[in-house]
Subunit: 278 residues, 2 copies
């Protein structure tokens, strides 16, 4: 793990790091904010998975999470959204290939060589963080994310209830099986057998028995992607049916941008902190 | 004035606008955040002047000012730092020409045609805002800025004590007469007669009798530009001599970036709000 930059901010340290990933076969970049803390203290950690086209940088620069993380003593981790580099295949669209890893392990050529974002987030990066950040309490992790990253946060938490104590999302893709973004990405990475997609669909995972203790979702009411791609109501229905306590808040007038995310990310940090410190 | 974009954020509206400027002879872009307010209410306005290489976008995306502006009911205006366009002359350096207007009225060719950022900020843009934002109380304006924009805020406020009720700055260039950035820019825009520069030098203006009721400055202790370019101590000395109540805070470990600015901009908004609402 190499440090790319380190800036003091909001009573803590905002770092950017790279490391050679075994599961993607590429260098990967991520950012970590560590609030000031007493020597020897262990801090809970909140993951933030980003959306289509993003790198670690979008939320790191525009997310407005650091004041809340410093106040509540929470480490904030922002990974990239796909492998990068000249060797990595890409698609002409913004919604597939680089910047659009969808947090899956691809099984189809040519994607299967590098696109292993599921293993990267679930296994490899946590080990890198545990080794590199001794103040991180890996027994107290929460996860959130935006859009494609909200899909990532929900599916990863549903598949790993022991690993993440708290989960929230901003404008998540709640059912890739039922939207154009999901059909293109999961069809491309996993092939035409839609049964193989269910492991990467929050609603299908809940239908198939996966459970979370509770859930917080913020969704902009003026989000252009709501009707065709995000379909928040499918998650509300799946949670209601499964008895999952889901707080799904429609925020009137807010869109899909960081102007929306930054308005509520501090609240999510506080929400996770309450659960991670309980 | 044309609206480029409008995003709901933090309980208000973040807009970006363009207009044809008479004093620069070019289109100019600026951003305005307007907190939600009661019909007919008049809100104070805080100007933020940006630093070298910046446009309106840097602080608009990275400044973390909106939550505080919404809480305190303050409009936030972020202009560009120079005229733009193919007709506008430029310099190879990042510190002169486009993105580096230094808030002066240039008198030297080829700069004198377009580089009239002093008149733009002092006169033209306030009139555009007064006409376009009827909720703006132009009798209650404050001003702040970063680096070159801190220089802009200090000098504009010192020359127009009736126009701005409160002034603060982040890592300002306090004396262009005494640093390489200032010597290059003022020499280029105003010519070799250094007497003509004094109108654009906060310390010289104070020496020459200009006064402010008080002043807040935050300066990063790990700012790479502190010793050679910013020289905060010259402002502290000028204020002490002139009896200006200057609160100049050294913030250990902080650098010159938006990671620093965003850590303290909400405090500045609150500081201005107290004075603008008094």
């Amino acid at each position: 793990m190499e440090q790319v930059s380190l800036n003091r901010s909001h009573g803590g340290s905002q770092g950017v790091y790279t490391h050679q990933s075994k599961v993607t076969g590429t260098p990967m970049t991520f950012s970590v904010f560590v609030p000031d803390h007493a020597p020897g203290a262990k801090l809970p950690m909140l993951w933030y998975l980003s959306g289509l086209t993003c790198t670690h940088a979008n939320v790191t620069e525009k997310g407005e999470f650091r004041a809340a993380c410093a106040e509540h003593g929470v480490i904030f981790v922002a990974p990239d959204t796909s492998p990068r580099g000249d060797d990595v295949p890409d698609d002409e669209g913004y919604d597939f290939g680089k910047g659009a890893g969808f947090y899956v392990n691809a099984t189809q050529a040519p994607w299967a060589t590098h696109f292993h974002m599921r293993d990267y987030i679930e296994s490899e990066l946590p080990a890198v963080l545990a080794a590199g950040f001794p103040m991180a309490d890996m027994a107290r992790q929460g996860i959130t994310g935006h859009s494609m990253g909200g899909h990532g946060a929900l599916t990863i938490a549903l598949r790993n209830p022991g690993q993440f104590r708290s989960v929230s999302a901003f404008a998540p893709i709640v059912s890739p099986l039922n939207c154009p973004w999901g059909e293109k990405a999961l069809g491309g990475y996993l092939g035409p057998d839609r049964a193989a997609w269910r492991d990467y669909d929050a609603c299908a995972l809940i239908e198939d028995g996966a459970r979370l203790p509770e859930l917080l979702v913020d969704q902009g009411g003026a989000d252009n992607f709501l009707a065709e791609q995000l379909k928040t109501h499918l998650l509300a229905e799946a949670c209601a049916k499964a008895g999952i306590a889901a707080t799904i808040r429609m925020q009137p007038g807010y869109d899909h941008s960081y102007y929306f995310i930054s308005s509520y990310l501090a609240e999510h940090v506080a929400w996770h902190a309450t659960r991670l410190k309980a």
